[in-house]
């Protein structure tokens, strides 16, 4: 069938079932926006992770009575360790200076601490930050070592927070996906019934299965495309107005970039189109006699 007559059939059907068409588009849009938001939250986790992996180190706090020899031996062992990329010694004075800088907005905290309260430390950059556990096991309890800290562990609550939002977005998207599937299924059933005379004629004059099904599948795909486009627009608007203009001023962490947004936009558009068309094809097998 030529594209012109095919689009005419599709256009007529979409107009005839306008209320159902709009319901499907709204559901698809909400579902895909939530799904896209879930993808962007995952991208945010990756962005924060990459940022922290570059900066957060494993810190070995030294005991106050650690000798220079113990410290040098420890540093030499660390430099020889293949898991360790670099080792920097930070004495009590430097530790106190950094503390004062980090908490400059909290003078009450700074006033209650002096240089002797903070330990000297060896700050490590690892070749693979995910192997911090091995370093902790290997160096905890060594002479002159008070404790070994993986700074990334401090950020576990942040990761839990982001993970919870990601899971929440995906769960809501799944619930909406169920609504979307049910709506498309119902729409095809109604549409196949409403167009039974048209399809009967198509069959009688020698229309192929593909020709008879094509308007239904295309109709559903168009709804998916429109829903996908609206969801993509919502993600872009969210990036511009929420992420770049609002969140960027409220956090010290880097936020996901446009590459993640474009990837999510393409994904929701493709999923919207193919899932809608696929669902229509499945429903037709049950509700359209060929």
């Amino acid at each position: 069938m030529r594209i012109g007559p095919l689009l005419r059939i599709v256009g007529t059907s979409l107009r005839r079932n306008l209320a159902v068409t709009l319901a499907v588009i709204v559901t698809v849009t909400i579902c895909l926006t939530l799904f896209g938001a879930g993808l962007l939250l995952r991208a945010q986790v990756r962005t924060v992770n990459g940022f922290l992996l570059d900066r957060i180190q494993v810190v070995i706090d030294l005991t106050d009575n650690a000798s220079d020899a113990e410290r040098d031996t420890l540093a030499a062992d660390l430099r020889a360790d293949p898991l360790v990329q670099s080792v920097v010694y930070e004495d009590k004075a430097h530790a106190f200076a950094r503390f004062r800088r980090d908490f400059r907005n909290s003078p009450d905290v700074v006033s209650g601490v002096n240089a002797n309260d903070l330990p000297a430390s060896l700050r490590l950059t690892l070749t693979d930050p995910r192997q911090a556990g091995e370093i902790i096991n290997d160096y905890t309890g060594r002479d002159g070592v008070d404790r070994v800290r993986d700074q990334r562990a401090l950020l576990a609550p942040l990761y839990r927070f982001l993970d919870a939002f990601t899971v929440g977005a995906f769960v809501l998207a799944a619930v909406q996906a169920f609504s979307m599937v049910a709506l498309i299924y119902t729409m095809i059933r109604i549409s196949a019934y409403g167009r039974r005379q048209e399809t009967a004629i198509m069959r009688l004059v020698g229309g192929t299965n593909r020709t008879i099904r094509a308007p239904f599948v295309l109709e559903s795909a168009i709804m998916g495309m429109v829903g996908g486009t609206l969801a993509a627009a919502a993600l872009i608007v969210g990036k511009v107005y929420l992420v770049d203009h609002r969140f960027a001023r409220q956090t010290a962490f880097p936020l996901f970039g446009w590459d993640a947004v474009w990837a999510a936009v393409v994904t929701v558009f493709l999923i919207g189109t193919t899932a809608s068309a696929g669902m229509a094809a499945v429903a037709l097998r049950r509700h359209l006699r060929i």
Binding site: G206, N209, T211
Partner: protein, 229 residues
Amino acid sequence: MIRMTSVTKRYPAAARPALDDVSVEIAAGEFTFLVGPSGSGKSTFLRLLLREERPTAGVVEVGGRDVTRIPNRRVALLRQQVGCVFQDYRLLPDRTVAGNVAFALEVTGRPRHVTRTVVPEVLDLVGLAGKADRYPDELSGGEQQRVVVARAFAGRPQVLLADEPTGNLDPATGLEIMRLLDTVNRTGTTVVMATHNASLVDAMRRRVIELRNGTVVRDQARGVYGLVF
């Protein structure tokens, strides 16, 4: 053009077969009436030719091909060669006369220039050239049936099947449709028409195949509706 060899068709819930060991041959270009009382098997006969049904036993050939063996995906091609006209007009109410005829060509993927040429030709053939832009509800029953004939003939099928095409029409209009089918037949198209209309059959004096209880009880060249001794 059409050959049925020892064809039997049983429906699951029926006590007796709809067709019982029927063997018939219809030559290309022939006009054949299929007569008999309701339930005699006329519609089943036509449905088998369209591959709407498969026979329980026997072979059904159209244009030299055994239609019972055609794979499902090729049935559409068979139906492009076998046009059909029914008692109920089955026109699309939201399309004009020309649109309804064009629909058959669009569905089978004919190019636009073919549609533009063929639609006026067939509307002229069926006498509706001046009503191409009318909608079905603006036409009389006879005119609607003419549109159906035009739609069935637009794809130039080798065979045209008509199942009670005059059943809803008054005698005069029925005769017009009959003449129209005769015109189609004169173009070389094989026509098989199931009917209860005795006067039309008697007036045409064409081949008559009479079915009763699923069997052929009469096959007569230049026959009439009721048996003449």
